[in-house]
């Protein structure tokens, strides 16, 4: 089944590149939803079907809950938030879309170089998973830094989280059902709280630009010296 997993991971990389290049919020949220689907079914695809037969109940349950939460519920929540605060797309990002795509592409190349140099062969389900995970985490962090809108930063966090999950599936990490569900619950509540925060911010600042969130800090102490 490795070939199917490799196709899936290659598509995953493409969603990263597309995300870096899009300025429209709805499109970006849909791309993150697609990533959620991929992340959800990845453990089932990576399962060693020929040697171990059909996966146990735990794998199916985690895959189903993951797909539903990351692929349906969270994007729906974000779309609702976008409508509610009447958010427009990313009109003037800090880093232009072309340059963003180039940077994300550089991340991909770097991840493959690093992934090769790690010489990981033990207990890896699919060799492609590690570089894809690194590239996705990098893309997520980059999106958080390079975009102004609060909603896009939440999307960046979700992409970062997806990267970690891909890494976990790639090295066949088995925590048990409780922990998997706990992690998922945390991500869900986080997006929920961030959504409420976005609503409050848009009401108080009448904008979603995080540039306005720079009143606190101690930089002024340094300037007086």
């Amino acid at each position: 089944m490795t070939s199917l997993a490799e196709i899936l991971l290659a598509l995953f990389l493409m969603t990263n590149l597309l995300l870096a290049g899009t300025g429209r919020l709805r499109q970006a949220i849909r791309l993150v939803a697609v990533q959620g689907w991929f992340v959800g079914i990845l453990p089932v695809v990576l399962w060693n079907w020929t040697a171990e037969g059909s996966p146990e109940m735990r794998v199916w349950a985690v895959a189903a809950v993951n797909t539903v939460v990351k692929g349906v519920v969270l994007p729906a929540l974000l779309l609702y938030a976008t409508r509610k605060v009447n958010a427009k797309g990313e009109l003037e990002p800090l880093v232009s879309f072309k340059l963003s795509q180039a940077i994300v592409f550089a991340f991909v190349v770097a991840s493959f170089v690093i992934g090769k140099s790690l010489h990981i062969h033990e207990a890896i389900a699919c060799e492609l998973a590690i570089p894809v995970a690194f590239a996705t985490m990098g893309t997520g962090l980059f999106l958080i830094c390079a975009r102004r809108k609060a909603i896009t930063q939440v999307l960046g966090f979700l992409v970062f989280e997806n990267g970690i999950t891909v890494f976990g599936s790639g090295i066949l990490m088995e925590y048990g059902l409780i922990v998997e569900l706990g992690i998922l619950l945390d991500v869900f509540v986080l997006v929920f709280v961030l959504g409420i925060a976005i609503y409050q911010i848009s009401r108080t600042f009448s904008s979603l630009d995080t540039d306005k969130l720079n009143q606190l800090g101690d930089v002024h102490l340094m300037k007086r010296m």
Partner: protein, 411 residues
């Protein structure tokens, strides 16, 4: 050792929770009256407050490393709404930064947890090293270690005083406990690397705190930087204990820990003493600072003068808290810092002493400026019940201090 740390932190967190819950009841009512403006419903505040305590206990008691991650992330989620109790622009900004920075940090810690767990199955030291770096950066963000501390002064200064006290006194210790737990499971071949990284972050936190405290203009931020300083000291103490403490001998009845050599014993009691007395003193200080904020309506140091004339009890509480937190001789923190300085290598002692001196100078200068002189503004009269909890904590600090010193004298 990790077991005694765990029990101590559970007791400490519970005591601080009760103290801050009682203070919340008084404080919130008064804050609503004088600040007005929009705030979140009180039932939600108290729900989150209790949930915060529950999440911290879960983090301390978690049976496995990934479950501990779930719990620590949960503490972020339930404490974030508390920071934005008053929906002012500053509070919303602090909440947004807290959520985003801590969640990314904790995300890195999850990655680190995966690497360490993978290393445990394969036994590869490179994976242990990589995992520990991510764990240290991740949980270090939550502990407030420089350079990952940027959320901390904002959140601590904008949150209502009892929340700041609980964040500083209890939450930072819980995430430090997570680092400590990972450090103790590291195999021998990577401990040198881990210790270097921890000492570097600890000293850097001390330095950053000292730099930002010297010219501080906001008394709640001053306390927040002091928390960064003390978390740095705790990390250094813990690492020195791991480096020089030797192996530990657990009594047969399991009721205590001794170390092979005397340095281990000194550092161990210094570590526990530092954690307890920093948390209690910081709670006292944050609650007093909250009362000053209610009375003067501003966090600016320049606006608060002549406390000794206008608010005598608060002046006593404030000066006593500052004396204790700076580690001046009657304070137990003096003994613990002395323990650190005598056990550390000479270069490290010199750096720590110099930075502690800077912090001491900054804090006492500001505290004296606030208490001495003529009152610049007339403070709002505050109900006496707001002073109950800080006064009780001060008495508790003095009592515990006497017990700690007497106990060590006989030891």
């Amino acid at each position: 050792m990790i077991d005694s740390l765990q029990i101590l932190l559970i007791v400490l967190t519970s005591v601080l929770f009760v103290a801050d819950l009682v203070q919340s009841v008084f404080y919130i009512r008064e804050a609503d009256r004088c600040e007005g403006g929009e705030h979140m419903p009180r039932w939600l505040y108290f729900t989150c407050f209790c949930g915060f305590f529950g999440a911290m206990l879960f983090a301390l008691l978690a049976p496995s490393l990934p479950l501990m991650w779930v719990a620590v992330e949960l503490t972020t989620l339930v404490s974030a709404p508390l920071i934005a109790y008053h929906r002012s622009p500053g509070a919303l900004e602090a909440m947004w930064k807290y959520l985003l920075i801590c969640s990314i940090g904790i995300g890195l810690a999850l990655f680190g947890t995966m690497l360490v767990m993978h290393a445990m199955t394969t036994g590869n030291p490179t994976w242990y090293k990589a995992g520990f770096v991510f764990v240290l950066a991740g949980y270090g963000t939550k502990t407030g270690l420089a350079p990952f501390h940027t959320w901390l002064p904002d959140a601590h200064s904008e949150a209502p005083a009892p929340v700041s006290a609980l964040l500083s006194g209890a939450l930072l210790n819980c995430s430090f406990f997570a680092i400590a737990r990972f450090r103790t499971i590291m195999p021998d071949e990577v401990t040198g690397f881990c210790d270097t990284a921890m000492i570097a972050l600890g000293l850097l936190s001390l330095a950053v705190a000292a730099v930002f405290m010297v010219r501080q203009t906001d008394y709640k931020r001053l306390l927040a930087y002091s928390s960064i300083e003390h978390m740095g000291l705790i990390v250094v103490l813990f690492t020195l204990l791991q480096m020089y403490g030797g192996s530990e001998i657990v009594f047969e009845d399991g009721k205590g820990v001794v170390f092979e050599n005397i340095t281990g014993d000194i550092l161990f009691s210094a570590l526990l003493g530092h954690i307890v007395f920093h948390s209690l003193t910081k709670t006292l200080l944050f609650q007093t600072a909250g009362n000053l904020l209610l009375a003067f309506g501003t966090r600016a140091i320049a606006a608060v003068q002549g406390l000794g004339v206008s608010m005598k009890l608060h002046a006593v509480l404030w000066i006593a808290g500052i004396v204790f937190i700076c580690g001046m001789p009657p304070s137990v923190l003096f003994l613990t810092e002395l323990g650190l300085v005598v056990s550390a290598p000479i270069w490290m002692s010199a750096i720590v002493l110099f930075l502690l001196f800077c912090v001491f100078a900054a804090m006492t200068k500001i505290a004296l400026a606030m208490t001495m002189g003529k009152p610049a503004a007339v403070p709002r009269p505050l109900p006496a019940r707001l002073c109950c909890v800080p006064t009780l904590i001060l008495l508790l600090l003095i009592l515990c201090g006497i017990f700690f010193c007497v106990g060590h004298f006989f030891h």
